[in-house]
């Protein structure tokens, strides 16, 4: 078991998704139990499914100085950075610590591949059109490369891409780097945008639902894919004793199958147990778990069984993918932000889309929102390749 860690302060955070821009829009939608999914109007070829789409990205190129980084994914990153005044917090942190002391650690599963796809629809003599011949946008590092350039940050910088756990793992990375003194602040987060290869790829794996996704419902039929960006600024707690805290994390591998979870949830359980060990708490201390809850048959079955064997129904659980869709590489950071909002508001998000829960989870699952004091909460993120992460957050010290 890993040793307990010293917590880090989350000095600011924000998010943008199909629910809207910023924390208030998300809080209102979740409180009203109002989802953001719509019938697929994105893919160039028809596909009968539902998506979580952010409006207006088509008409909002990046500002002039960053045009060479322009892509749907970086536009969404840019809009997310501006939400809730988050960009000011980043600039202040860079001013406080120095641009070389702020790490940029971001997760994505597909980066700007949508821009590559667009180029292939417009080939000129077998080559990408001139507007798409920008090598840096065709790498996954398009994301962290752009964000570091936009803020002129020169600390350690990496784009993590472990499918749907990507932007959970960056929180763990940031904790290690701050502990070792490699940086004094970390801009962490995740961004993923809708693109056709992901819609048709998951469809080929028979994991896409023809209806809005229904996490943990016995009649669930698969995922609804969404796009989102979420960011957090992590610093040492001395700076902000009252800020919410990252108190633990766990990372593991299923060692089972590339696209199916371990049947007994071995890897997921290990990530969860390691997060609790680093937080120095037992399962009874956990007030809320934001589940991975993709609404695939297998994920929800395995995750429900894990929750049932680790927690009593006093620990409330829900998936928020019914609101945003599965935002893939952004899901870790989006759901971290929703957990931070839940802690702040003292409100468990209702599990949208579930009428008849998996029996094993029925007593734990918050089908409707619940107002209650929350002190410690977890967020699960599991990805292809059997890649698992679990994050633990807590409220700050009371002034």
């Amino acid at each position: 078991m890993p040793a307990a860690i010293a917590p880090l302060a989350v000095t600011d955070y924000t998010l943008i998704s199909a629910l809207g821009t910023g924390r208030a829009a998300h809080q209102e939608a979740v409180q009203a139990q109002r989802g953001g999914l719509r019938a697929n109007d994105f893919s160039k070829s028809p596909l009968d499914c539902w998506i979580g789409r952010v409006d207006g990205l088509e008409d909002q190129p990046l500002p002039e100085p960053w045009l060479s980084w322009d892509s749907r994914n970086n536009r969404l990153a840019w809009r997310g950075l501006q939400a809730d005044g988050f960009e000011h917090s980043v600039r202040e942190a860079a001013g406080r610590h120095g641009a070389g002391r702020v790490a940029v650690l971001l997760g994505t599963s597909t980066g700007s591949i949508g821009a590559s796809e667009d180029g292939y629809r417009d080939l000129r003599d077998g080559r990408l059109p001139p507007s798409a011949r920008r090598a840096h946008i065709h790498s996954l590092h398009s994301l962290a490369g752009f964000v570091a350039a936009a803020f002129d940050l020169h600390g350690p910088c990496l784009t993590v891409s472990t499918a749907c756990s990507s932007s959970a793992k960056v929180f763990a990375m940031a904790e290690r780097m701050l502990r070792l003194g490699l940086a004094d602040a970390a801009l962490v987060g995740g961004v993923d945008t809708l693109c056709q290869s992901v819609l048709f790829g998951f469809n080929a794996l028979e994991l896409v639902s023809p209806q809005p996704c229904r996490p943990f419902d016995r009649a669930r039929r698969g995922i609804s894919i969404g796009e989102a960006a979420a960011f957090a600024l992590l610093e040492r707690t001395g700076r902000a004793p009252q800020a919410p805290r990252l108190v633990g994390y766990g990372e593991s591998s299923d060692a089972w199958h590339m696209s199916t979870p371990h049947p007994e949830g071995l890897g997921a359980q290990r990530a969860l147990d390691d997060a609790l060990a680093r937080a120095g708490v037992s399962p009874e201390a956990v007030d809320y778990v934001n589940l991975h809850g993709t609404a695939t048959i297998k994920n929800d079955e395995v995750e429900a069984a894990l929750v049932a064997r680790r927690f009593s129904p006093r620990t409330r659980v829900s998936s928020t993918k019914g609101y945003t869709g599965h935002t893939l590489g952004a899901a870790g950071a989006v759901e971290a932000a929703l957990v931070l909002l839940a802690l702040e508001q003292g409100r468990v998000p209702g599990n949208l889309g579930c009428d008849e829960p998996e029996p094993v989870l029925a007593e734990h699952l918050a089908r409707q929102g619940e107002a209650r004091p929350l002190r410690l909460a977890l967020s699960n993120s599991f990805g292809f390749g059997g890649n698992n992460a679990c994050l633990a957050f807590a409220t700050g010290s009371v002034a």
Binding site: K44, S45, G100, S109, I113, S116, E117, G119, Y120, R121, L123, R127, L128, R133, A135, H138, S139, L140, H141, A144, G145, H154, G155, P156, C157, L158, T159, V160, S161, T162, A163, M173, R176, M177, R179, L180, L182, Q196, S197, L199, F200, G201, F202, N203, A204, L205, E206, S252, S253, D254, A255, W256, M258, S259, L266, G267, F384, G385, G386, N387
Partner: protein
């Protein structure tokens, strides 16, 4: 500036055409060996089942080959090692396929090639092949991928006080995307890094952040050729030091405007 991070190299692996392992590479650098004229175009790592070897893309094969060599040299059980796989572009040919099929007939998208397109495909297949339940990670920092990966791997080694496997790999692209991918030949290298010296220690590395520092160039023509032809081979100046043929201090680009200076002391 923080104190240097000290880690110990216990194992080394490498695969590129003509240089199927670390010993052959080191021999060529020392001038007491020649590249293999005739070797298979793809490695066949023994830890993958034969069906798996046929199914996975070349990038996964070379990454797992280098990983298996490094872990073998370290004498450690691969199931006990957390791993980090870095690659500027992942598997270019699979991404070329995905983009091409979206433009032509998206409904024909192959499920296997789709799940092989994730950047952590090599990490996933490696953990499955070695029954490893430890943390595995995959990332890109484009041209800075190797040094950014080394920094993250060393930070895992020291923060958790346990050995970690680092693998860096890239392959050439194909199709229209190919011209955006600077790697023109396949190359993979791997290091097992430990927090303390042991009987398996081959070298001691001291890593320091070096803002704005000038990067070190590879010395040997073969190493320079690799570094020019593959992004993962930007590790070349460090690999030369580890082969006893480079500078004691090598600086690699870890991020825009950030160097990583590596002080190498050969132990065995």
């Amino acid at each position: 500036m923080s104190a240097p991070l000290t880690v110990f190299v216990e194992g080394l692996g490498l695969w590129t055409p003509g240089l199927p392992d670390w010993e052959r590479f080191a021999g060529v650098l020392r001038g007491d060996g020649a590249p293999l004229a005739d070797m298979p175009a793809r490695p066949a790592p023994a830890c993958l089942a034969s069906g798996e070897r046929r199914r996975v893309p070349a990038s996964v094969l070379i990454a797992i080959e280098a990983a298996a060599q490094a872990v073998g040299m370290s004498g450690r059980d691969p199931a006990t090692l957390p791993s980090l796989f870095v690659s500027a572009h992942g598997d270019g040919p699979v991404l070329d396929y995905l983009c091409e099929v979206q433009a032509r007939a998206p409904a024909e998208t192959s499920p296997t090639r789709f799940h092989n397109s994730v950047h952590n495909a090599a990490a996933g297949y490696w953990t499955i092949a070695t029954d490893c339940h430890e943390s595995s990670c995959a990332g890109s920092a484009l041209d800075c991928s190797f040094a950014a990966g080394l920094l993250e791997a060393a930070s895992q080694v020291l923060a958790e006080a346990r050995p970690v496997l680092l693998v860096a790999f890239d392959v050439a692209g194909t199709g229209p995307l190919g011209e955006t991918i600077s790697s023109k030949l396949p190359f993979a290298c791997a290091l097992v890094l430990a927090p303390a010296p042991s009987a398996a220690t081959r070298a001691r590395l001291g890593l320091s952040l070096a803002p704005g520092a000038q990067c070190t160039e590879a010395r040997h023509p073969r190493a320079a050729e690799l570094a020019a032809g593959n992004v993962a081979a930007r590790a070349a100046p460090l690999l030369e030091s580890l082969a006893g043929r480079g500078a004691a201090d090598a600086t690699l680009a870890a991020a825009e405007g950030l160097g990583l200076t590596i002080h190498t002391e050969i132990v065995a």
